[in-house]
Structure formats: structure tokens, C-alpha cells
Symmetry: C2
Subunit: 519 residues, 2 copies
């Protein structure tokens, strides 16, 4: 830890008493032992051949050159593109071959997003994977099984659960929409909740450039002005309006964050068949074109600003038009897009625990793992919606949140591959036990049993008779109990009182400066 | 189709009226349009490096040479091993370096298992994947949600469901244990059910050498003596008694099938921590040693007899000793064992939809896909337990059977990778639609929408309001309805009356020849 870092660490006030004692206190009182972000020991899986990805890249370049991308209601953006050598026709920007790719070269291949607790800072890019919670649902399915609009209380609860969950590396952003708070003020309460109830890294508001600026201002109260100017402390979700449009709101947030050196995740949001062609190759081509235009624009705003190639792709029911999840076609897109991002040399965001089910039932679980497993195998770097997503993203589910977190922990363990040490090889165990005996009491088993296998806090592996005696509980009932326990046990990580007061004053001042708005 | 094949086809009597008309009739009356066995277009994923697999191979050779494998209660087997150059010490067989590997060279890398309907014959090995139902449960969870002992009626029902399910390529073996039929006679009813209610390939009995012989005799009544002598029509599950033992029963069945040129799946059955060390590398090493000894023995019985390298590995709860499923450690073993089998040049069996849950809930689905997804990604050739497995294999579940089959169909589709044809690239669609519009009505979407996306018969993607209006059904309720519909719609594929009568006479004669036994 450099002197500057250390200063920043103190500034962040994460350890009131300072030193080992406070650290121990934070562990006992706060989150369970957390896993660090993942450094994968397994190589990513690729579904496309070299010729395949080259074809997609060629086609995406054609789209950028021939069709172009619209940058709407933002004359400044058009001016910037004109200066960069693009062809401007109304709001349509056409890109000479290679321009976007050239601009993207200034983006870092990997960057650190700092948390106020440096032990919780994450690396985004390379061989790393970071899990973040569900983002965006206006509804929750609450602990009484009621589906209703989300509140700021729910928001705080999901922040607390993400803080408690060992394999959740990130506090996320809009873990649910607190619709009981005015739309023009809720970002203040959301950002504050991430700071107050967690010490994991978090996301900023993107719904208005001013709200993005507020997010940065609040981060500066925590991390210090200089630190924020020179380091990434916020990662922010910028959706393209597919097909082939960026709108005023998203461009405003993008410019604000990129100019402040904060990370933007440029994510074409695609329901295939509606916002892109129905074929996987078509979705992939358009995604690449849109993401390249957005990431290149971020580099125009500030060369070197961290960007993430994002992809959200699902298919739709061609009968009803409803989005569908966990199907094979989006999984193919996911693998392909991760591959393209690696070739571009930028971090990649996609995947998550997506599902269309209305309840945390087997449909939800099948669909979730049909996305989560490819997420890990494809080597995604930043995983939004990693836990808690239900009903096509309309609902944040408490129970599914902890159920998904259990799966994340297993994927993290899987990503570490084989232990091929002498202990891992276990030749002595086989020599000791020999044919026809068992390993339950042998020395190797005794020495390793506590850490040998992942232990799920939710899976029931007892006998049928015992399960019956305990009330035939399904996993969602056990998850309900675990959520209640975590929320009851929650203790906020320490936060410097001065910082907390400064945040409070900032929020009061901002809230008092404008009337409530609910649309 | 060669003349000989055609003759065999007729002999099998699969088309009463013969020709296209009967084929059409079979389609309309019988199964839905079935998928053929999978020919994967994606390469298998490997978690171990070359050095890693070489280390495991080296260690397995050490086990075979130093510790050896016991062939119990079978003096003939010991004599065969002595003649082959192994070192015999009591029932312990130690193998000079390279002996097993050398013997296995006569085993085919890939073989056809013939079905009585040649369109349903499957290729086992190479780039192919074949899905087969759950094997072995003594209980069922029935359509009224009752967990009870399985009956022959249940057995027939699962055969019927496997026949109906498009992505189920195989009729399997002991889809459940019909415990209402005497233990010494039930194999006759089981084999008959596979022949009568399906035309997909199936498995023979392994619980006694005589029952294996009966399975072969019944197959000969269907396929003809010569055809069975020269082709594989039965695939049969031979479990090792891990650690490092083959017992009399399994060796008896192994010898019977191998000498008849029928396929044996040599499967160490390992709950890690009990039958093998607690580490993935240890499980893998012991699995390789045991499987090599068994496959080499099959080649001693009849050089060229088809064998399959099998691996069943789960971990256990080190607290209760209960087996656990869907955890990361067995998934690692699965990838490693598939890799070793490819290097040995033999087909590989593992994976399936394993879970420990007592109900078809989210736990069941998470755990199932945590095994099924690696099954496909690792390139498993023969997948037992691909559908219907519940409660650690104690229960065959009707609802889970069709839920799993839905997942199998998705994996089959996924395995075909990208369509990079001009239509797949969809450049014209992007040119037609352009920025800010949508693809719902464009020419490319119109031309492709019917086949663009996998359509699940079970997933509910309707709005919350519609789901509510339809009774808030969870997927298992929809699955229950689908099972009832399939069983109501079932029509058996045609079977030559002469063959049916010959089978009936054989079964009557066998049943009359001995008293009932229930243990």
C-alpha cells in the first residue's frame, strides 16, 4: 500500500478505531468472511473460430461505415465526432473503417474499481470476474411472498444482503427502484445506502447528467477529490437504445462519468427479434458495432477513461413478444461477445442470473444457471444481475438473491480448477486405504475434510425422512429464513462520522433545492 | 442403407405396413418429432493442461502397478489376467506398466448402438452425445405428489415419456425399479417394456449373469441372432465397487455382455471422501485406474467389444455423510475424466441431471444444471440420468423428467453453435431496419421467426397479470399437466406381431421356470 493509498484509506474512514482490532471488530460485527473478486485459473471457452470472429468484426465494421449510429439530441457529441473524422449526416454518425477501433486503444484493458474498504476493491478486466447484484427492478417479491412496488427500505435491504453475501463482490447500483422516493431525488438515497450499509464498490446514477454529477460529488466526500479525479470509484451502466441509437440521457451520463475518469459500461440492450435480428450472429454484429461506437465516444470524452464492453441479449417469444431467458441463443451470443471483447482488449460485462419465471421455482433456477454457467465459462469480467433477478428483471427477489449467491460461490470455487499439489493428488490416501475399504477416517480425509467440498447454506441433502420431519421445506422457504437471519444479524461497516455528516448535508441541500418529481 | 441393414430393419418389424405411409403413421400416432443423437459442433472444454492430465495418467498407472485392483470371487477372471501378464496375489491383480492401456487399444473409439427403428440408432463416441433417462431409483414421486415404491406401471410410463420426449435419444435401462415384480423376474418385464413401448435403443440387465443372458436372448428375438452377434444392440452399466474392486455380480454381467459383443459402461461409482479421496485429482486418478482395469478386462473377454469409460462422482457432506450434488468439485472431475477418455480413445459416460433435492424445486434445478451444463461442455458421449433424477437417485420424478427433457433440448440446440451463413449474418436485416426502428416485422424476421428461438413447452414467459389469472402455476404444475397429456396421447410404435409373441413366450417360459424371489 503506497502512502497515497494509505491516506485515501484513512480518508475513507473505514476503520474508526484503526488497526487490527477494528478490522477484527468489522469482521465479527459485519459481513461474513467475504471472498475477494475472482481471478480465474481456467481459460475462457470460445464457441467461435478465428474465422468466425473475424467475420463478425468485418460485418460490424460495415455497419459502422455504411449504416452508422445515431447520437440523438446532443449537438456536442456530433461535433466531437466530426472533429474525430467521422461523417455526420443529421444525427447519424458514420465511421471511417477502423476509427472506433483506433480510438478504443486508449481504454485500459483492466482497471481497479476502488471500494471505501480497500480489501473490497475489485479488478475489472483480464482474468478477473466480479459479481454484482440485480439492477433496475421496480418491484420486489417480499419476504411474505407479496409482489409489490419496491421502496427505499427494500433498497437498503438488498444492499445489506449484498454486503453479507460472501461471493457478492460488489454492491451494485439500482438493486431495486425505490419508487416511494421522488424520482429526481432517489439517486441521493441510493448512493448513500451503498456507502452507509456496505463497504463494497458500487454504481452511480445514469438517469440524468446532474444525477451522475451528484453521484461523483458524493463519492468525492468519501474518497477525496484528488483520489476520485485519478481513480475509478464508480462504474456506471450506459445502455444503447438499440438498434443503433444513443439518446440524450445516456450520452449525458456517459460524458459526465467519462470526463470524471469514472467507468462506463456501454451495453446494447437487445431483445433479439425486436432490437436486433433474430439470429445469434446478427445480434452479435450489431452489439459489437454499438458497443464500439459508445466506447470510442467515451475515449473522445477523456482518453484513458475506463470502459467496459457490455452486452445484454435475450430472445423473445415470437408468439407473444415476451422476452425469454435461459435459452440457448443468448448463451451463444454471450460466448461470442466475450470473445470479441478480449480481442478488442477491453473488459466485458454480460450474463447474470436471468430468468422469466414469476416465482423462485425450478424454472427460475434452470434459466438462471443457463445464463450464469456460460457467464463463468465465457470469462465475463463484470456480472450485473448476478443475484436476485426474477420475472424478466421486473422483480428483485429476496429469496432468489441468496439462492443465486449460493450458486455464485460455487462458480467461484469451480473457477479455481484442480489442486494438483501433492496433497491434491492424494496418492498416499489411496495407498493407505487400498481396495475394498473406505476413506472416511483416513489421514488425508481427516486433514482435508473441512475445506474439501463446497458447503451450501441452502441445499438440503438430508434423508427424505428427516426432510419430512422438518416440514418438507422447499429451498425458497429455507432461503426466506436465511434472508431474515442475515437482515437480523446485519451490522453496518464502520463509516467515519465526519464523512457521514458531510453526505447528509449534501443530500439535504440537494433535496431542498428542488420540488419532488414523480415522473 | 445397405441391403443387410434393410433386412435387419424388416426383421425388427418396426413398420407393420412398411414404407412411407407407415412412417407417417408412426409419426402421427407415436412420438413427437424426435431429434437424432447429437453431433456437437462445439469443441469440448478442458480444465486440465497437458501436464495436468499427464500427471493424473502417471499416477493412475502407479495405482495399477503398485496397489492393483481386486477381482473378487471370480477365479476365471484372475486366470485371464494371469495369462495376460498381470501379477496375481490372492484376488489382487497388479498390472505391469502400460498393460491396461495396451489392451484397451482394441476397443472401438466410436460405435453404433442399434435401435429396432434404425432412425433411432445412436452413435456413441467421438463428437456425439446421447441422452438416456435416470437409472436405478427404487421410488417414484408420482403425479399426485406421493413418494412411494415404483411399480412396473411406473416403469412403462417412464419408457413412454422417454419415447415421447424429442431430445431423449435413448430408452435407458432401469428407469425405476419395478419392486412389485419379483426381483429374479423383473428384468424380463423391463426389457420387454423397452421393446414394446419404445423403438429407441435400450440397456440390458446387469444384476446377474443369467439376466444379462436373458437380455441378449430377448434382443435376438427382435434383431435376429446374426445381427446381435455382429452389432451392438445393448449397452450395459457395470459399476466398479470403488475403491479398486470389481465383484462377482458385475464381472459376471461384464463377461456375458462383452463376449456377446455388447457394450459395457465401466463406471467407478464414487462418493468422494467415502469411495475415493476428497480431492478432485484423487477422485480422477482412482477413477482412471479402475475404469482402465475394467475396460481392459472387457477386451480380454472379446477384443473389440465396445466399452465406455464411465465416471460417476459426487461429493458428500462431511458433516452427515450424505451425498451432495451440483457442487463444483464433481464438475471438475467430470471435465477431467472426459479429457482422459478422449486421450484413451474410448467413448465417455458421465454427468446427467443429478440433484439431492427431495422436491422438483429450485434446488433440484440449480443442481441439475450444475451437472448437465458441464456434461455438454465436457463433451460427454453417453449421458445416463439425463432426465428424471431426484433425491440423490432414490426417486424417479415424472415432473422432473419432462422439465429436464426441456433443458436437454436446449443443450442440443446450443451444441450446434452459430449459424454463420448469409442468413445467419443478417446484414440485410440491419440495412433494412436501421437506427431507431425495430425488427419485429422486417423480411428477415418474417422468414426466420418460426425456427429462430428454442420454444420451451414448460417455461412461462407471460405477464405477471396473466400468470396470476391462470392460477400462479409453478413449473412443476405445468410439468404435471404435460406428463398427463403425453401419457394420454401415447401410442406405442408398431411392433411385428410375431416378434411380440416370441417375446411373450420367452418371458412366460422363463418366469415359469423358477419361483418368485423378492430379495
Amino acid at each position: 500500500m503506497s502512502g497515497a493509498d494509505e491516506q485515501a484509506g484513512r480518508r475513507r474512514g473505514r476503520r474508526g478505531g484503526g488497526g487490527a482490532e477494528a478490522r477484527r471488530g468489522a469482521r465479527l460485527g459485519g459481513a461474513m468472511e467475504s471472498y475477494r473478486f475472482i481471478t480465474r485459473k481456467l481459460k475462457p471457452y470460445e464457441v467461435l473460430s478465428d474465422e468466425g470472429v473475424e467475420l463478425i468484426e468485418h460485418n460490424a465494421d460495415l455497419i459502422l461505415e455504411e449504416i452508422g449510429i445515431e447520437f440523438r439530441d446532443d449537438p456536442e457529441a456530433l461535433e466531437m465526432w466530426r472533429d474525430a473524422g467521422a461523417d455526420i449526416d443529421g444525427v447519424r454518425v458514420r465511421f471511417p473503417k477502423g476509427l472506433c477501433r483506433e480510438l478504443i486503444k486508449t481504454a485500459p484493458a483492466q482497471f481497479t474499481q476502488h471500494a471505501r474498504n480497500p480489501e473490497r476493491s475489485v479488478e475489472i478486466g483480464g482474468d478477473h470476474t466480479v459479481f454484482a447484484p440485480v439492477y433496475g427492478p421496480p418491484f420486489v417479491r417480499d419476504l411474505d411472498g407479496v409482489r409489490r412496488y419496491a421502496t427505499i427500505e427494500d433498497f437498503r435491504n438488498f444492499v445489506k444482503l449484498a454486503y453479507m453475501a460472501p461471493a457478492m463482490h460488489h454492491s451494485g447500483g439500482t438493486v431495486c427502484e425505490p419508487v416511494d422516493v421522488p424520482v429526481n431525488k432517489r439517486h441521493l438515497d441510493m448512493v448513500y445506502s451503498h456507502i452507509r450499509y456496505s463497504d463494497k464498490p458500487f454504481m452511480g446514477s445514469v438517469t440524468h447528467p446532474e444525477r451522475a454529477a451528484d453521484s461523483i460529488a458524493m463519492a468525492k466526500l468519501v474518497f477525496g477529490d484528488d483520489f476520485v479525479d485519478n481513480n475509478c470509484v464508480l462504474i456506471n451502466l450506459i445502455n444503447a437504445n438499440s438498434p443503433m441509437v444513443f439518446d440524450e440521457t445516456m450520452l449525458g451520463a456517459l460524458k459526465t462519468y467519462a470526463r470524471a475518469g469514472q467507468a462506463t459500461v456501454i451495453s446494447p440492450f437487445i431483445l433479439a427479434g425486436a432490437m436486433a435480428p433474430v439470429t445469434a450472429a446478427g445480434v452479435l454484429t450489431q452489439t459489437l458495432a454499438e458497443a464500439m461506437a459508445g466506447m470510442a465516444f467515451a475515449q473522445l470524452c477523456r482518453p484513458g477513461a475506463p470502459v467496459v464492453f457490455g452486452s445484454f441479449a435475450s430472445s423473445i417469444s415470437m408468439q407473444s413478444g415476451a422476452p425469454t431467458f435461459g435459452t440457448p441463443e443468448p448463451a451463444l451470443v454471450l460466448y461470442g461477445a466475450a470473445h470479441l471483447a478480449r480481442r478488442l482488449g477491453v473488459p466485458f460485462r454480460s450474463g447474470g442470473g436471468l430468468c422469466g419465471s414469476k416465482a423462485p421455482d425450478a424454472q427460475a433456477a434452470y434459466e438462471t444457471l443457463s445464463t450464469l454457467n456460460p457467464t463463468m465459462m465465457a470469462g465475463v469480467n463484470f456480472v450485473l444481475h448476478a443475484a436476485g433477478w426474477l420475472e424478466g428483471g421486473l422483480v428483485s427477489s429476496y429469496e432468489k438473491f441468496v439462492m443465486d449467491c449460493d450458486q455464485l460461490a460455487m462458480l467461484q470455487r469451480f473457477s479455481q480448477g484442480y489442486d494438483l499439489s501433492e496433497n491434491g493428488q492424494a496418492l498416499d490416501a489411496m495407498r493407505e486405504v487400498g481396495p475394498g475399504s473406505h476413506y472416511l477416517g483416513c489421514a488425508h480425509t481427516q486433514a482435508n475434510f473441512q475445506t474439501a467440498f463446497y458447503r451450501s447454506p441452502l441445499a438440503d441433502n438430508n434423508s427424505y425422512e428427516q426432510w419430512l420431519a422438518e416440514g418438507e421445506k422447499r429451498i425458497e422457504q429455507r432461503a426466506n429464513e436465511l434472508v431474515r437471519k442475515w437482515l437480523a444479524d446485519f451490522q453496518a461497516p464502520p463509516l467515519d462520522q465526519g464523512i457521514d455528516e458531510a453526505l447528509g448535508a449534501f443530500i439535504r441541500q440537494k433535496k431542498d433545492s428542488m420540488p419532488d418529481a414523480f415522473t
